[in-house]
Amino acid sequence: MTARVHKLINQPENLVDEMLAGFCAAYSDIARLVDKRLVMRAQPKAPGKVGLVIGCGSGHEPAMTGWIGEGLFDVNIAGEIFAAPGPELMVKGIRAADRGGGVLICVSHHAGDLLNAELALELCQAEGIDNVDMVVLYDDISSAPKGREPERRGTAGLFFVWKMLGAFCEGDGDLAAAKALAEKARDNTRSLAMSLSSCASPVTGEVMFEMAPDEMEIGMGLHGEVGMGRQKALGADETIDLMLPPLLEDLPFQAGDEVLVLLNNSGSLTLMELFVLYRRAAAKLAEADIKVYKSWIGAYATTQEMAGFALSLCRVDEQMKALWDAPANGAYMKQL
Protein backbone atom coordinates (compact mmCIF):
# COMPACT_ATOMS: atom_id res chain seq x y z
CA MET A 1 0.00 0.00 0.00
CA THR A 2 1.25 3.42 -0.91
CA ALA A 3 0.29 6.27 1.37
CA ARG A 4 -1.13 9.47 -0.03
CA VAL A 5 1.80 11.79 -0.49
CA HIS A 6 0.14 14.95 -1.74
CA LYS A 7 -1.13 16.97 1.20
CA LEU A 8 -3.42 19.98 1.10
CA ILE A 9 -0.94 22.39 2.64
CA ASN A 10 1.10 25.34 1.42
CA GLN A 11 4.83 25.72 2.19
CA PRO A 12 5.82 23.05 4.74
CA GLU A 13 7.80 25.64 6.73
CA ASN A 14 4.61 27.62 7.34
CA LEU A 15 2.48 24.59 8.07
CA VAL A 16 2.33 24.71 11.85
CA ASP A 17 1.78 28.47 11.99
CA GLU A 18 -0.98 28.32 9.37
CA MET A 19 -2.70 25.37 10.94
CA LEU A 20 -2.79 26.97 14.38
CA ALA A 21 -4.07 30.21 12.88
CA GLY A 22 -6.85 28.31 11.14
CA PHE A 23 -7.76 26.38 14.26
CA CYS A 24 -7.98 29.49 16.43
CA ALA A 25 -9.94 31.37 13.77
CA ALA A 26 -12.51 28.59 13.60
CA TYR A 27 -12.87 28.21 17.35
CA SER A 28 -12.28 31.74 18.58
CA ASP A 29 -14.88 31.27 21.32
CA ILE A 30 -12.76 28.46 22.76
CA ALA A 31 -9.12 29.17 21.98
CA ARG A 32 -6.86 32.06 21.06
CA LEU A 33 -3.38 32.18 19.60
CA VAL A 34 -0.49 34.03 21.26
CA ASP A 35 3.03 34.35 19.83
CA LYS A 36 2.06 32.14 16.88
CA ARG A 37 2.63 28.96 18.89
CA LEU A 38 0.73 29.21 22.16
CA VAL A 39 -2.87 28.02 21.93
CA MET A 40 -4.65 29.32 25.02
CA ARG A 41 -8.09 29.24 26.50
CA ALA A 42 -10.17 32.14 25.21
CA GLN A 43 -11.41 32.68 28.80
CA PRO A 44 -8.61 32.04 31.32
CA LYS A 45 -9.61 30.03 34.37
CA ALA A 46 -10.23 31.70 37.73
CA PRO A 47 -7.20 33.14 39.59
CA GLY A 48 -5.62 30.82 42.13
CA LYS A 49 -6.26 27.60 40.21
CA VAL A 50 -3.53 25.28 38.96
CA GLY A 51 -2.59 25.94 35.33
CA LEU A 52 -2.15 23.00 32.97
CA VAL A 53 0.26 23.16 30.06
CA ILE A 54 1.55 20.67 27.56
CA GLY A 55 4.36 21.12 25.09
CA CYS A 56 4.46 18.59 22.31
CA GLY A 57 4.97 18.09 18.63
CA SER A 58 2.28 19.01 16.11
CA GLY A 59 0.90 16.69 13.45
CA HIS A 60 -1.36 14.73 15.80
CA GLU A 61 -4.44 16.93 15.47
CA PRO A 62 -6.80 17.31 17.24
CA ALA A 63 -4.18 16.61 19.97
CA MET A 64 -3.47 18.84 21.73
CA THR A 65 -5.10 22.03 20.38
CA GLY A 66 -8.47 20.30 20.59
CA TRP A 67 -7.97 19.85 24.35
CA ILE A 68 -7.70 23.52 25.18
CA GLY A 69 -10.79 24.85 26.91
CA GLU A 70 -12.87 24.81 30.03
CA GLY A 71 -12.43 21.63 32.05
CA LEU A 72 -9.33 20.79 30.03
CA PHE A 73 -5.90 22.36 29.37
CA ASP A 74 -4.95 26.01 29.67
CA VAL A 75 -2.12 26.23 27.16
CA ASN A 76 -0.80 24.05 24.37
CA ILE A 77 2.76 24.92 23.39
CA ALA A 78 2.95 23.73 19.83
CA GLY A 79 6.19 22.36 18.43
CA GLU A 80 7.00 21.56 14.82
CA ILE A 81 5.53 18.43 13.24
CA PHE A 82 6.46 15.51 15.52
CA ALA A 83 9.00 17.61 17.45
CA ALA A 84 8.63 19.05 20.93
CA PRO A 85 8.89 22.85 21.23
CA GLY A 86 12.09 24.42 22.54
CA PRO A 87 12.44 25.38 26.20
CA GLU A 88 12.14 29.16 25.83
CA LEU A 89 8.76 28.84 24.16
CA MET A 90 7.75 26.44 26.89
CA VAL A 91 8.63 29.00 29.52
CA LYS A 92 6.41 31.51 27.73
CA GLY A 93 3.59 28.98 27.81
CA ILE A 94 4.12 28.32 31.48
CA ARG A 95 3.97 32.05 32.25
CA ALA A 96 0.77 32.31 30.21
CA ALA A 97 -0.89 29.50 32.17
CA ASP A 98 0.08 30.85 35.57
CA ARG A 99 -3.04 31.96 37.45
CA GLY A 100 -1.29 32.07 40.81
CA GLY A 101 -1.97 28.46 41.76
CA GLY A 102 1.12 27.02 40.15
CA VAL A 103 1.57 25.30 36.81
CA LEU A 104 1.83 21.63 35.97
CA ILE A 105 3.76 20.73 32.81
CA CYS A 106 2.42 17.50 31.37
CA VAL A 107 4.87 15.44 29.36
CA SER A 108 3.75 12.66 27.07
CA HIS A 109 6.86 10.52 27.39
CA HIS A 110 9.13 10.87 24.37
CA ALA A 111 12.81 11.78 24.52
CA GLY A 112 12.36 15.21 22.98
CA ASP A 113 9.34 16.17 25.02
CA LEU A 114 11.02 15.20 28.26
CA LEU A 115 14.38 16.85 27.49
CA ASN A 116 12.78 20.14 26.51
CA ALA A 117 10.44 20.17 29.49
CA GLU A 118 13.40 19.54 31.80
CA LEU A 119 15.27 22.45 30.24
CA ALA A 120 12.18 24.63 30.58
CA LEU A 121 11.87 23.74 34.26
CA GLU A 122 15.51 24.70 34.79
CA LEU A 123 14.93 28.01 33.00
CA CYS A 124 11.88 28.64 35.20
CA GLN A 125 13.96 28.09 38.30
CA ALA A 126 16.68 30.38 36.96
CA GLU A 127 14.09 33.05 36.22
CA GLY A 128 12.49 32.74 39.65
CA ILE A 129 9.19 31.24 38.46
CA ASP A 130 8.35 29.01 41.39
CA ASN A 131 5.54 26.59 41.88
CA VAL A 132 6.05 24.83 38.57
CA ASP A 133 6.21 21.07 38.44
CA MET A 134 6.30 18.40 35.78
CA VAL A 135 4.59 15.04 35.42
CA VAL A 136 5.77 12.42 32.95
CA LEU A 137 3.01 10.28 31.48
CA TYR A 138 3.12 6.99 29.59
CA ASP A 139 0.74 4.20 28.70
CA ASP A 140 2.02 2.16 25.73
CA ILE A 141 2.67 -1.41 26.88
CA SER A 142 4.52 -2.28 23.67
CA SER A 143 7.41 0.10 24.35
CA ALA A 144 8.91 -1.44 27.50
CA PRO A 145 8.12 -4.54 29.55
CA LYS A 146 6.11 -4.63 32.74
CA GLY A 147 8.25 -3.50 35.64
CA ARG A 148 9.91 -0.84 33.48
CA GLU A 149 6.78 1.29 33.01
CA PRO A 150 8.60 4.67 33.24
CA GLU A 151 10.44 3.82 30.01
CA ARG A 152 7.18 3.48 28.13
CA ARG A 153 5.92 5.97 25.53
CA GLY A 154 2.99 8.29 25.97
CA THR A 155 0.25 7.54 23.46
CA ALA A 156 -3.49 7.85 22.96
CA GLY A 157 -4.49 6.53 26.39
CA LEU A 158 -3.31 9.75 28.00
CA PHE A 159 -6.72 10.90 26.80
CA PHE A 160 -8.02 9.70 30.16
CA VAL A 161 -5.37 11.57 32.12
CA TRP A 162 -5.97 14.82 30.22
CA LYS A 163 -9.70 14.72 30.86
CA MET A 164 -9.50 13.93 34.55
CA LEU A 165 -6.67 16.31 35.20
CA GLY A 166 -8.49 19.10 33.39
CA ALA A 167 -11.58 18.56 35.51
CA PHE A 168 -9.47 18.36 38.67
CA CYS A 169 -7.76 21.68 37.95
CA GLU A 170 -11.12 23.44 37.70
CA GLY A 171 -11.46 22.63 41.41
CA ASP A 172 -9.50 23.81 44.41
CA GLY A 173 -6.80 21.13 44.60
CA ASP A 174 -3.22 22.39 44.66
CA LEU A 175 -0.28 21.62 42.39
CA ALA A 176 0.89 18.59 44.35
CA ALA A 177 -2.62 17.14 44.39
CA ALA A 178 -2.95 17.71 40.64
CA LYS A 179 0.31 15.90 40.02
CA ALA A 180 -0.76 13.03 42.27
CA LEU A 181 -4.05 12.73 40.40
CA ALA A 182 -2.23 12.67 37.06
CA GLU A 183 0.03 9.89 38.31
CA LYS A 184 -2.91 7.93 39.62
CA ALA A 185 -4.73 8.17 36.29
CA ARG A 186 -1.53 7.26 34.43
CA ASP A 187 -0.86 4.26 36.66
CA ASN A 188 -4.33 2.89 35.94
CA THR A 189 -4.09 3.37 32.16
CA ARG A 190 -2.75 0.98 29.53
CA SER A 191 -2.75 1.22 25.72
CA LEU A 192 -1.82 -0.88 22.75
CA ALA A 193 -1.91 0.34 19.16
CA MET A 194 -1.82 -1.25 15.72
CA SER A 195 -1.57 -0.03 12.17
CA LEU A 196 -2.36 -1.26 8.70
CA SER A 197 -0.50 1.45 6.87
CA SER A 198 2.23 4.02 6.88
CA CYS A 199 1.64 7.72 6.34
CA ALA A 200 3.46 10.56 4.65
CA SER A 201 5.44 13.21 6.48
CA PRO A 202 4.16 16.69 5.60
CA VAL A 203 7.68 17.97 6.23
CA THR A 204 9.60 15.78 3.81
CA GLY A 205 6.66 14.88 1.57
CA GLU A 206 7.75 11.27 1.77
CA VAL A 207 6.19 8.11 3.12
CA MET A 208 7.53 7.57 6.64
CA PHE A 209 8.12 3.83 6.32
CA GLU A 210 7.09 0.99 4.06
CA MET A 211 4.31 -1.43 4.79
CA ALA A 212 2.85 -4.13 2.57
CA PRO A 213 -0.92 -4.00 1.86
CA ASP A 214 -1.61 -7.24 3.72
CA GLU A 215 0.50 -6.48 6.77
CA MET A 216 -0.25 -5.03 10.15
CA GLU A 217 1.99 -3.97 13.01
CA ILE A 218 0.92 -4.37 16.62
CA GLY A 219 2.37 -1.91 19.11
CA MET A 220 3.08 0.98 16.79
CA GLY A 221 3.88 4.35 18.40
CA LEU A 222 2.29 7.74 17.75
CA HIS A 223 5.04 8.73 15.29
CA GLY A 224 5.16 5.40 13.50
CA GLU A 225 7.77 4.02 15.90
CA VAL A 226 7.88 0.27 15.53
CA GLY A 227 6.14 -2.03 17.96
CA MET A 228 6.14 -5.76 18.42
CA GLY A 229 6.66 -6.54 14.75
CA ARG A 230 4.80 -7.19 11.54
CA GLN A 231 2.30 -9.88 10.83
CA LYS A 232 -0.43 -10.71 8.34
CA ALA A 233 -3.40 -8.35 8.60
CA LEU A 234 -6.33 -9.92 10.43
CA GLY A 235 -10.07 -9.31 10.66
CA ALA A 236 -11.68 -7.10 13.29
CA ASP A 237 -12.55 -9.74 15.89
CA GLU A 238 -9.22 -11.51 15.51
CA THR A 239 -7.37 -8.24 15.97
CA ILE A 240 -9.18 -7.45 19.21
CA ASP A 241 -8.63 -11.01 20.39
CA LEU A 242 -4.92 -10.51 19.82
CA MET A 243 -4.62 -7.11 21.48
CA LEU A 244 -6.94 -7.27 24.46
CA PRO A 245 -5.34 -10.11 26.47
CA PRO A 246 -1.85 -8.52 26.81
CA LEU A 247 -3.53 -5.25 27.73
CA LEU A 248 -5.61 -6.88 30.44
CA GLU A 249 -2.64 -8.82 31.82
CA ASP A 250 -0.40 -5.82 32.03
CA LEU A 251 -2.09 -3.80 34.78
CA PRO A 252 -3.73 -6.34 35.37
CA PHE A 253 -7.37 -5.45 34.85
CA GLN A 254 -9.45 -7.97 36.75
CA ALA A 255 -12.97 -9.26 37.17
CA GLY A 256 -15.00 -6.66 39.03
CA ASP A 257 -12.93 -3.72 37.77
CA GLU A 258 -14.67 -0.77 36.22
CA VAL A 259 -12.98 0.83 33.20
CA LEU A 260 -13.15 3.59 30.66
CA VAL A 261 -12.48 2.48 27.08
CA LEU A 262 -10.97 4.46 24.23
CA LEU A 263 -10.66 3.35 20.64
CA ASN A 264 -8.46 6.01 19.10
CA ASN A 265 -8.31 6.35 15.33
CA SER A 266 -4.73 7.03 14.26
CA GLY A 267 -5.99 8.68 11.09
CA SER A 268 -7.74 6.99 8.21
CA LEU A 269 -9.43 4.06 9.85
CA THR A 270 -13.19 4.51 9.44
CA LEU A 271 -15.59 4.88 12.35
CA MET A 272 -17.42 1.99 10.72
CA GLU A 273 -14.42 -0.25 11.44
CA LEU A 274 -13.95 1.16 14.92
CA PHE A 275 -17.57 0.40 15.82
CA VAL A 276 -17.10 -3.21 14.66
CA LEU A 277 -13.90 -3.43 16.72
CA TYR A 278 -15.63 -1.92 19.72
CA ARG A 279 -18.40 -4.50 19.58
CA ARG A 280 -15.87 -7.28 20.04
CA ALA A 281 -13.91 -5.45 22.74
CA ALA A 282 -17.09 -4.81 24.72
CA ALA A 283 -18.13 -8.46 24.43
CA LYS A 284 -14.71 -9.68 25.59
CA LEU A 285 -14.64 -7.26 28.52
CA ALA A 286 -18.10 -8.45 29.55
CA GLU A 287 -16.84 -12.04 29.37
CA ALA A 288 -13.99 -11.10 31.69
CA ASP A 289 -16.51 -9.50 34.05
CA ILE A 290 -14.94 -6.08 33.59
CA LYS A 291 -17.54 -3.34 33.60
CA VAL A 292 -17.34 -0.54 31.04
CA TYR A 293 -18.25 2.78 32.62
CA LYS A 294 -18.03 4.96 29.47
CA SER A 295 -16.45 4.64 26.04
CA TRP A 296 -15.11 7.01 23.42
CA ILE A 297 -14.44 6.17 19.81
CA GLY A 298 -12.80 8.69 17.55
CA ALA A 299 -9.68 10.39 16.26
CA TYR A 300 -8.23 12.09 19.34
CA ALA A 301 -4.49 11.71 18.75
CA THR A 302 -3.56 10.99 15.18
CA THR A 303 -0.46 10.05 13.23
CA GLN A 304 -1.33 11.88 10.06
CA GLU A 305 -3.41 9.58 7.82
CA MET A 306 -2.10 6.33 9.26
CA ALA A 307 -4.76 3.58 9.17
CA GLY A 308 -4.71 2.12 12.63
CA PHE A 309 -6.08 2.40 16.10
CA ALA A 310 -5.15 2.22 19.75
CA LEU A 311 -7.18 0.40 22.36
CA SER A 312 -6.82 2.02 25.78
CA LEU A 313 -8.29 1.10 29.13
CA CYS A 314 -8.34 3.08 32.35
CA ARG A 315 -9.43 1.52 35.63
CA VAL A 316 -11.58 4.01 37.52
CA ASP A 317 -12.75 4.62 41.06
CA GLU A 318 -15.48 7.01 42.21
CA GLN A 319 -13.23 10.09 42.15
CA MET A 320 -12.09 9.30 38.62
CA LYS A 321 -15.63 8.68 37.39
CA ALA A 322 -16.77 12.02 38.76
CA LEU A 323 -13.84 13.77 37.08
CA TRP A 324 -14.61 11.93 33.87
CA ASP A 325 -18.21 13.10 33.89
CA ALA A 326 -17.38 16.72 34.69
CA PRO A 327 -18.15 19.17 31.89
CA ALA A 328 -15.52 19.95 29.28
CA ASN A 329 -15.55 22.27 26.30
CA GLY A 330 -12.59 21.83 24.01
CA ALA A 331 -13.07 22.07 20.26
CA TYR A 332 -12.59 18.30 19.96
CA MET A 333 -13.45 17.09 23.45
CA LYS A 334 -16.88 17.98 24.69
CA GLN A 335 -18.66 16.63 27.73
CA LEU A 336 -22.04 18.06 28.55
Binding site: L119, T204, H223
Partner: protein, 210 residues
Protein backbone atom coordinates in the same frame (compact mmCIF):
# COMPACT_ATOMS: atom_id res chain seq x y z
CA UNK B 1 47.13 30.50 13.01
CA UNK B 2 46.58 28.93 16.36
CA UNK B 3 43.90 31.10 17.87
CA UNK B 4 40.66 32.18 16.29
CA UNK B 5 38.50 35.23 16.71
CA UNK B 6 34.82 35.83 16.33
CA UNK B 7 35.05 36.21 12.56
CA UNK B 8 36.51 32.76 12.13
CA UNK B 9 34.05 31.26 14.59
CA UNK B 10 31.15 32.77 12.66
CA UNK B 11 32.57 31.36 9.44
CA UNK B 12 32.90 27.90 10.99
CA UNK B 13 29.28 27.92 12.10
CA UNK B 14 28.26 29.02 8.60
CA UNK B 15 30.26 26.18 7.11
CA UNK B 16 28.49 23.71 9.38
CA UNK B 17 25.11 25.19 8.46
CA UNK B 18 25.86 24.81 4.76
CA UNK B 19 26.98 21.24 5.18
CA UNK B 20 23.94 20.02 7.11
CA UNK B 21 21.66 21.86 4.67
CA UNK B 22 23.35 20.07 1.77
CA UNK B 23 22.85 16.74 3.51
CA UNK B 24 19.30 17.46 4.69
CA UNK B 25 17.55 14.78 2.67
CA UNK B 26 20.18 12.15 3.43
CA UNK B 27 19.83 12.87 7.16
CA UNK B 28 16.05 12.64 6.88
CA UNK B 29 16.42 9.27 5.25
CA UNK B 30 18.68 8.01 8.02
CA UNK B 31 16.12 9.21 10.55
CA UNK B 32 13.28 7.61 8.59
CA UNK B 33 14.94 4.25 9.11
CA UNK B 34 15.51 4.74 12.84
CA UNK B 35 13.10 7.42 13.99
CA UNK B 36 10.57 9.80 12.50
CA UNK B 37 12.39 11.07 9.44
CA UNK B 38 12.77 14.72 10.39
CA UNK B 39 16.33 15.05 11.62
CA UNK B 40 17.73 16.62 8.44
CA UNK B 41 14.92 19.14 8.23
CA UNK B 42 15.22 20.04 11.92
CA UNK B 43 18.98 20.45 12.04
CA UNK B 44 19.17 22.48 8.86
CA UNK B 45 16.29 24.73 9.97
CA UNK B 46 18.04 25.34 13.31
CA UNK B 47 21.49 25.97 11.83
CA UNK B 48 20.01 28.37 9.29
CA UNK B 49 18.38 30.24 12.18
CA UNK B 50 21.72 30.32 14.02
CA UNK B 51 23.46 31.87 11.01
CA UNK B 52 20.72 34.46 10.67
CA UNK B 53 20.78 35.33 14.37
CA UNK B 54 24.59 35.60 14.37
CA UNK B 55 24.43 38.04 11.46
CA UNK B 56 21.95 40.13 13.43
CA UNK B 57 24.23 40.36 16.48
CA UNK B 58 25.21 43.90 17.47
CA UNK B 59 28.37 42.75 19.24
CA UNK B 60 29.43 39.45 17.74
CA UNK B 61 31.83 38.36 20.45
CA UNK B 62 33.02 34.78 20.64
CA UNK B 63 30.72 34.00 23.53
CA UNK B 64 27.79 35.78 21.90
CA UNK B 65 28.20 33.68 18.76
CA UNK B 66 28.47 30.50 20.78
CA UNK B 67 25.39 31.44 22.87
CA UNK B 68 23.39 32.44 19.80
CA UNK B 69 24.15 29.10 18.20
CA UNK B 70 23.14 27.30 21.37
CA UNK B 71 19.84 29.14 21.58
CA UNK B 72 18.98 28.66 17.93
CA UNK B 73 19.60 24.92 18.19
CA UNK B 74 17.73 24.65 21.47
CA UNK B 75 14.71 26.69 20.47
CA UNK B 76 14.37 26.32 16.72
CA UNK B 77 15.19 22.69 16.21
CA UNK B 78 12.69 21.06 18.53
CA UNK B 79 12.65 17.46 19.54
CA UNK B 80 15.30 15.45 21.34
CA UNK B 81 18.31 16.55 19.38
CA UNK B 82 17.48 20.26 19.66
CA UNK B 83 17.66 20.01 23.42
CA UNK B 84 20.87 18.00 23.22
CA UNK B 85 22.68 20.12 20.62
CA UNK B 86 21.57 23.18 22.57
CA UNK B 87 22.98 21.70 25.75
CA UNK B 88 26.25 21.04 23.91
CA UNK B 89 26.80 24.62 22.83
CA UNK B 90 25.42 26.37 25.89
CA UNK B 91 27.88 24.68 28.22
CA UNK B 92 30.87 26.15 26.39
CA UNK B 93 29.69 29.75 26.62
CA UNK B 94 31.12 30.28 30.11
CA UNK B 95 34.66 29.35 29.09
CA UNK B 96 34.59 31.77 26.13
CA UNK B 97 33.31 34.76 28.06
CA UNK B 98 35.57 37.85 27.94
CA UNK B 99 38.09 36.37 25.51
CA UNK B 100 38.76 37.88 22.08
CA UNK B 101 40.58 34.96 20.61
CA UNK B 102 40.44 31.31 21.51
CA UNK B 103 43.27 28.76 21.30
CA UNK B 104 42.73 25.15 20.32
CA UNK B 105 43.20 24.23 23.96
CA UNK B 106 40.53 26.62 25.20
CA UNK B 107 38.24 25.42 22.42
CA UNK B 108 38.91 21.84 23.46
CA UNK B 109 37.77 22.76 26.96
CA UNK B 110 34.52 24.22 25.63
CA UNK B 111 33.88 21.11 23.54
CA UNK B 112 34.62 18.78 26.45
CA UNK B 113 32.28 20.73 28.71
CA UNK B 114 29.60 20.44 26.02
CA UNK B 115 30.16 16.70 25.70
CA UNK B 116 29.71 16.29 29.44
CA UNK B 117 26.46 18.18 29.28
CA UNK B 118 25.19 16.12 26.36
CA UNK B 119 25.88 12.88 28.20
CA UNK B 120 24.18 14.13 31.35
CA UNK B 121 21.22 15.60 29.53
CA UNK B 122 20.66 12.63 27.25
CA UNK B 123 21.62 9.96 29.79
CA UNK B 124 23.66 8.46 26.97
CA UNK B 125 27.10 6.85 26.89
CA UNK B 126 29.31 5.68 24.02
CA UNK B 127 27.72 2.58 22.52
CA UNK B 128 24.12 3.71 22.95
CA UNK B 129 23.82 4.54 19.23
CA UNK B 130 23.41 8.29 19.63
CA UNK B 131 25.34 11.40 18.66
CA UNK B 132 27.58 10.66 21.66
CA UNK B 133 29.20 7.90 19.62
CA UNK B 134 30.56 10.55 17.23
CA UNK B 135 30.95 13.40 19.67
CA UNK B 136 32.99 11.60 22.36
CA UNK B 137 35.81 10.39 20.07
CA UNK B 138 35.81 13.70 18.18
CA UNK B 139 36.27 15.71 21.36
CA UNK B 140 38.97 13.31 22.59
CA UNK B 141 40.85 13.67 19.29
CA UNK B 142 40.48 17.44 19.39
CA UNK B 143 41.86 17.58 22.92
CA UNK B 144 44.87 15.44 22.03
CA UNK B 145 45.95 17.62 19.09
CA UNK B 146 48.63 20.33 19.27
CA UNK B 147 47.10 22.93 17.03
CA UNK B 148 43.86 23.79 15.26
CA UNK B 149 44.82 22.17 11.97
CA UNK B 150 45.58 18.88 13.60
CA UNK B 151 42.62 19.21 15.96
CA UNK B 152 39.97 19.73 13.26
CA UNK B 153 41.46 17.01 11.08
CA UNK B 154 41.65 14.46 13.87
CA UNK B 155 38.20 15.34 15.19
CA UNK B 156 36.63 15.04 11.74
CA UNK B 157 38.16 11.61 11.19
CA UNK B 158 37.19 10.41 14.66
CA UNK B 159 33.62 11.73 14.37
CA UNK B 160 33.11 10.00 11.03
CA UNK B 161 34.49 6.75 12.40
CA UNK B 162 32.26 7.11 15.45
CA UNK B 163 29.20 7.78 13.31
CA UNK B 164 29.94 4.73 11.20
CA UNK B 165 30.39 2.62 14.33
CA UNK B 166 26.72 3.22 15.21
CA UNK B 167 25.71 0.95 12.35
CA UNK B 168 26.49 -2.17 14.32
CA UNK B 169 24.72 -1.04 17.47
CA UNK B 170 21.35 -1.53 19.10
CA UNK B 171 19.97 1.81 20.35
CA UNK B 172 19.60 2.45 24.06
CA UNK B 173 18.31 6.03 23.75
CA UNK B 174 16.05 8.01 21.40
CA UNK B 175 13.23 6.76 19.22
CA UNK B 176 15.42 4.01 17.72
CA UNK B 177 15.41 2.25 21.09
CA UNK B 178 12.09 0.64 20.28
CA UNK B 179 13.52 -1.01 17.17
CA UNK B 180 15.68 -3.40 19.19
CA UNK B 181 17.70 -5.66 16.90
CA UNK B 182 16.07 -4.08 13.87
CA UNK B 183 18.22 -0.98 14.37
CA UNK B 184 21.34 -2.93 13.41
CA UNK B 185 22.67 -1.95 10.00
CA UNK B 186 21.39 1.62 10.18
CA UNK B 187 23.62 4.62 10.94
CA UNK B 188 22.45 7.06 13.61
CA UNK B 189 21.39 10.41 12.13
CA UNK B 190 22.48 12.53 15.13
CA UNK B 191 25.94 10.98 15.08
CA UNK B 192 26.09 11.58 11.34
CA UNK B 193 25.30 15.24 11.89
CA UNK B 194 28.15 15.49 14.37
CA UNK B 195 30.50 14.02 11.75
CA UNK B 196 29.24 16.50 9.15
CA UNK B 197 29.81 19.41 11.54
CA UNK B 198 33.41 18.49 12.24
CA UNK B 199 34.10 17.68 8.59
CA UNK B 200 32.70 21.04 7.54
CA UNK B 201 34.90 22.79 10.11
CA UNK B 202 37.95 20.88 8.96
CA UNK B 203 37.31 21.64 5.29
CA UNK B 204 36.81 25.32 6.04
CA UNK B 205 40.00 25.34 8.07
CA UNK B 206 42.04 23.67 5.32
CA UNK B 207 40.79 26.14 2.75
CA UNK B 208 41.09 29.30 4.79
CA UNK B 209 43.62 28.92 7.57
CA UNK B 210 45.89 25.97 7.14
Amino acid sequence: MNAIGSEELGALIRAMAQRVAAERDALNRLDAALGDGDHGTSISRAFAAAVEDIEALQEPSLSAIWLTTAKALMNRMGGASGAIFGAFFIKGVASLRDVDRVSNHLMAGALAAGLGSVKARGRAAVGDKTMVDALAPAVAAFEAADDFSAAWAAAATAARKGAESTRDLVARQGRAKFLGERAIGQQDPGATTVALMFEAANDWWKENQA
